[in-house]
Amino acid sequence: MGQITLQDVQKSFGPVHIIKGADLDIADGSFVVFVGPSGCGKTTLLRLIAGLEDVSGGKILIDGKNVVDTPPAKRGLSMVFQSYALYPHMSVRGNIGFGLKMAGLPKDEINRKVEAAAATLNLSPYLDRKPRELSGGQRQRVAIGRAIVREPKAFLFDEPLSNLDAALRVQMRIEVTRLQKQLGTTAIYVTHDQVEAMTMADKIVVLNGGKIEQYGSPLELYERPANLFVAGFIGSPKMNFVTGESALQRGAATIGVRPEHLKIEREGAGGWQGTISVAEHLGSDTFLYVDAGPLGMLTARYIGELSLHAGDRVSLVPDPARIHRFDDGGNALRG
């Protein structure tokens, strides 16, 4: 079991409030991603759950039991660090088996479990090597091995892929997701990369300035962002925001349209007029950055190749069903 509940969890360092009251329900076996810009408190929140930091207020329940006064080791969680944090003087075998050794398991049982974990992660040939003799990806695998071998209630991942190169990151992303589904263990994963969040998560927690802005499935966040921050943070390229006349007509202070929901038409076809300042041709997609005068810069995405270039005049027509409306306070208006 690995059900984690946060109730009004707070954390301050001196007068600075890092986490301003977080409430969260993480179902057993789910993959939850904390995402947000740097300094939003996502790593702090993870460390509070791990027990590496003490809460300033509130409760953390793991399977219904309040653990705020329980030391990290007794919470039954395991963590994968951004820097991998492998023990440099121990072999891969020693690293993976360290937790089991601390738990006082007999040697042959440790060996059996370590070898099983190594086999899952394709690490069997490297068991007797030291971390410095491994590549970045292999080190990452050892760190994951160390986490899974203890059969914890939940895995905590602190930006584990940020030190890997782009290709390896995509590969490890898929592996981590597959592994988590296969083991069925609850996972909390911290990242600032919204693509990672969208692709890996069952549910995403968007954090900003120490507050949870929205908690929901990736598509919920994409389709029904609760406020301007979530709308701007989720989705790539960023959502376009328009204020003024166009927004007022639709009864909102601000309206938002994603680049993929702007239809690109010849000039004069209605919608918003503008001049292309940059056109990016990726083959699979075409991104147009359009200077729309008083509306500011708008981004439009076209699936496929579109032979338009900088300087061309275009009309951008928003899909009426896909316009997001926000009030003065930046909160989404529904209906």
């Binding site: 969680l77 395991s78 660090f81 440099p88 360290f98 601390m102």
Partner: protein, 276 residues
């Protein structure tokens, strides 16, 4: 062309480096050579470099006149004892400052170092009087105590900078893995800190071994280490270069051997954290 220039440069700088190294080592070499000369030859001008009458007489005289082994044993006890006690105090101090620093940690470190800026002679009289009153003059315990205190700031600084380099994540990983503080120390921290501990120990041992101010002022015979043993050849009956050299050679031999075998550790310890 460029390659030849580079090779020339390598040759020149190699020769330069050897010359410089020889220059630094020369006083020690000269001392060792002088210890094998007769008193007359040791004074001779122009001096003879290698072609003189080699004799071990000085060593015999020195051992006969003042018991070398007694002083050497004192040196071992004083240097070793003060180093071990300093480490026992410094390790927990440096741990706590490196791993749970407070706002004042930097100030405390600087304050500790500031005690090294005071010339020891400034406190000689009060320390001497205190030692006299409590009966610590010419005692090994007294010297262990004063050398330990004298070197403690440097030991704490060295260990602090060393521990600082150990990534926090690794300690936290051990904590997540269920290690108690004691086991974290035994299985993770100490193995990772061994090079730092070793170089600190060695450096402190050398500093304490060669310390001459306090040992000369606070001991006469009973607790007198090798520094006092050397000093005894420099005045009473005039200067005896050859015997003084023999005494000095004997005095530095143990630490020289130790330093030779541990130079890798020493260099690593002294330059740790400098590059990275």
């Amino acid at each position: 062309m460029a390659r030849i220039a580079t090779r020339q440069r390598v040759v020149i700088s190699t020769i330069g480096a050897w010359l410089f190294g020889f220059l630094i080592f020369f006083p020690i070499l000269w001392m060792v050579l002088a210890s094998f000369k007769t008193e007359l030859e040791a004074f001779a001008i122009p001096p003879s470099f290698l072609f003189f009458h080699w004799t071990t007489e000085n060593y015999a005289t020195v051992q006969e006149r003042s018991d070398y082994f007694h002083h050497a044993m004192n040196s071992v006890i004083i240097a070793g004892g003060s180093t071990l006690i300093a480490l026992l105090i410094a390790i927990p101090a440096a741990w706590s400052m490196a791993f749970s620093p407070t706002k004042r940690t930097k100030d405390i470190l600087l304050w500790m170092l500031s005690t090294k800026m005071m010339p020891p002679v400034g406190v000689l009289v009060p320390i001497y009087l205190i030692y006299k009153t409590v009966g610590l003059l010419d005692s090994r315990i007294g010297l262990v105590f004063i050398l330990c205190l004298g070197n403690l700031p440097i030991v704490i600084w060295m260990l602090f900078t060393y521990f600082k380099e150990i990534p926090r994540d690794i300690l936290e990983a051990a904590r997540m893995d269920g290690a108690t503080i004691g086991r974290e120390l035994v299985y993770v921290l100490t193995p990772m800190a061994i090079p730092g501990l070793a170089s600190t120990l060695l450096l402190n041992l050398i500093l304490a071994w060669n310390e001459a101010f306090w040992t000369l002022n606070l001991s006469t015979s009973n607790a007198a280490p090798l520094t006092t043993f050397i000093a005894s050849y420099s005045s009473p009956e005039g200067l005896f270069w050859a015997k003084l050299s023999a005494a000095s050679t004997l005095a530095i031999a143990p630490i020289l051997v130790l330093g030779w075998f541990s130079q890798k550790q020493l260099v690593r310890g002294l330059t740790f954290g400098a590059v990275k």
